[in-house]
């Protein structure tokens, strides 16, 4: 196999251009649309928290109303919980739902690299199938939260992005920082954002 030298020059130029331009596109994507700086060859390793420090929490809600205490602590790297009578309860898939459980974990893993509304919708559907074989609650709140630190201010906190899933649609509610407002206020703001979706 021998490639013509003129073609080799063209390939070299194309590769050089891709090497120069792709990281710039990657940076814009990772700054604005939920791509981890660590992934997809943008050379942003260590620039942000590793994807596995990103905690994912799916809260299934029986109704739109979100009580203030609904967010709760974050344990491990992911949680699936339901809100029943104002109390959070952890959910686990039974033996019969292992396939759906594996599918959900795969989607969860992918969302650590590339977060999209489409992927979040798939995640809620997959967890819904794994946890509620006979029909899941109407709505779900999905939280992506990562540890942050204000070195000069001396405060460790979490930065959280909230999404709301209802009737097959995913809405981004906003980003909330624990160094600016407390947990109760974040829950109130999320609740208000959900209410505004209806109006």
């Amino acid at each position: 196999m021998k490639i013509d030298i003129q073609w080799q020059i063209r390939i070299a130029l194309a590769l050089a251009l891709v090497l120069l331009v792709w990281p710039v596109v990657h940076m814009a994507w990772s700054l604005s649309f939920g791509l981890s700086s660590w992934k997809l060859a943008g050379w942003g390793m260590y620039a942000t928290n590793h994807p596995f420090y990103m905690h994912q929490k799916v809260i299934f809600l029986p109704e739109r109303d979100l009580p203030v205490q609904a967010l709760g602590p974050f344990r491990g790297i992911s949680q699936v919980v339901e809100l029943t009578d104002g109390e959070l309860r952890g959910l686990e898939a039974d033996e019969a739902s292992q396939d759906a459980d594996s599918a959900a974990r795969r989607i969860e893993r992918d969302l650590r690299a590339i977060r999209s509304k489409h992927g979040i919708g798939q995640l809620v559907d997959a967890w819904g199938e794994a946890m509620y074989p006979e029909g899941r609650p109407c709505c779900a709140l999905v939280l992506f939260t990562e540890p942050r630190l204000d070195v000069l201010g001396g405060r460790a906190y979490r930065s959280t992005t909230a999404f709301y899933h209802e009737q097959g649609k995913v809405h981004e509610l906003g980003r909330y920082r624990g160094d600016q407002v407390d947990e109760a206020e974040i829950a109130r703001r999320i609740d208000r954002a959900i209410e505004e979706l209806g109006s």
């Binding site: 021998k2 992934k39 939260t145 540890p147 070195v151 460790a156």
Partner: protein, 309 residues
């Protein structure tokens, strides 16, 4: 823009830069080192995948490496290795580690561009293009790594370094930062600190006051890392500082490898960096290969005691 540059245009400048000649022995030595690096990397597959089903793949990689080291059939070996790497990328996608993309790109470059033994007429020019493309790749990795650290801001504020003190991960950068912090703290007669520190478990912030020396340490480390990553490609690009830049790049890469335990990437990167050293390439790559083999075998012999990087 100089008159000469203006006359060449962007395409001419790039072509001129990519066709700077390289010594005859450089690319064959690099190619042999690089394919053996891929084989050594594949030896970790059983631990990464947690299954013995990957042994046939390791066998295939071994055969491909032997073929890739031959003078005439090397392209068949390279093509097999490229397909193997693409399979690894697809398997892990989108969580694929970045060095996998870089290694795949290098295999593609080695495959596509001619060799002076198989194409005496255009081989030298093609070899020069492949060497310069690999050099360019590694320089851009450092450059954009520095730029990404600036735009995301976590290194400028010292936050990224400090967050390692909260990490429960028992290997890599968290262990290095925690050990270094403890050692510096002992110099300031600070009481020993229990790691990991407790961060915010809920959405409420937690007070965490660091002593002045620690804040200075986080900030200075963050800025130095960014500065060195940006300085390396700029120094190499400038002819007067090229020699300094290449040595700085080697030091920075060894530092990253040791501090973040990123040894798999480190050996690939040092292989790329040695392309800047045009004298005695066979000796250079032989020494690097011996170190790589010793390191990989020690990791394998230590088994599960050493985490996969």
């Amino acid at each position: 823009m100089t008159t000469a540059t203006a006359a060449l245009g962007w395409r001419g400048v790039l072509t001129h830069g990519l066709t700077r000649s390289v010594p005859e022995e450089l690319m064959p030595a690099f190619r042999r080192f690089f394919v053996i690096h891929i084989f050594l990397q594949s030896l970790k597959l059983p631990r990464v995948e947690q299954t013995t089903e990957v042994y046939p793949w390791i066998g295939l990689v071994f055969i491909a490496v032997v073929v890739a080291c031959m003078n005439r059939l090397y392209r068949i070996g390279l093509l097999t290795l490229l397909l193997y790497k693409l399979w690894r990328i697809v398997e892990d996608f989108p969580m694929t580690a970045n060095h996998m993309y870089l290694e795949t790109l290098i295999l593609f470059v080695l495959l596509v561009f001619s060799d002076r033994r198989t194409d005496p007429e255009h081989g030298p020019k093609a070899e020069a293009m492949s060497a310069n493309l690999v050099q360019m790749s590694i320089l851009l990795v450092y450059f954009y790594s520095g730029v990404q650290k600036i735009v995301h801001g976590m290194w400028l504020s010292g936050e990224h370094v400090a967050l390692n003190l909260y990490s429960f991960v028992p290997f890599g950068m968290p262990v290095s930062v925690q050990t270094f912090y403890r050692w510096i703290g002992s110099l300031f007669d600070e009481p020993a600190v229990e790691f990991p520190l407790r961060g915010a478990s809920g959405l409420n912030a937690v007070e965490q006051a660091f002593p002045g020396w620690a804040i200075a340490l986080f900030l200075i480390t963050g800025w130095l890392v960014i500065l060195s990553e940006l300085l390396v490609p700029l120094c190499v690009a400038w002819p007067r500082t090229r020699r300094f830049g290449v040595w700085l790049m080697l030091v920075v890469q060894l530092g990253i490898g040791a501090f973040a335990w990123e040894t798999e990437f480190m050996f690939a990167a040092v292989g790329c960096i040695l392309l800047f050293f045009h004298k005695r390439p066979v000796r250079n790559y032989s020494v690097l290969l011996v170190l790589h083999v010793i390191w990989s075998l020690s990791i394998l012999l230590m088994g599960s005691k050493v985490p996969t990087l």
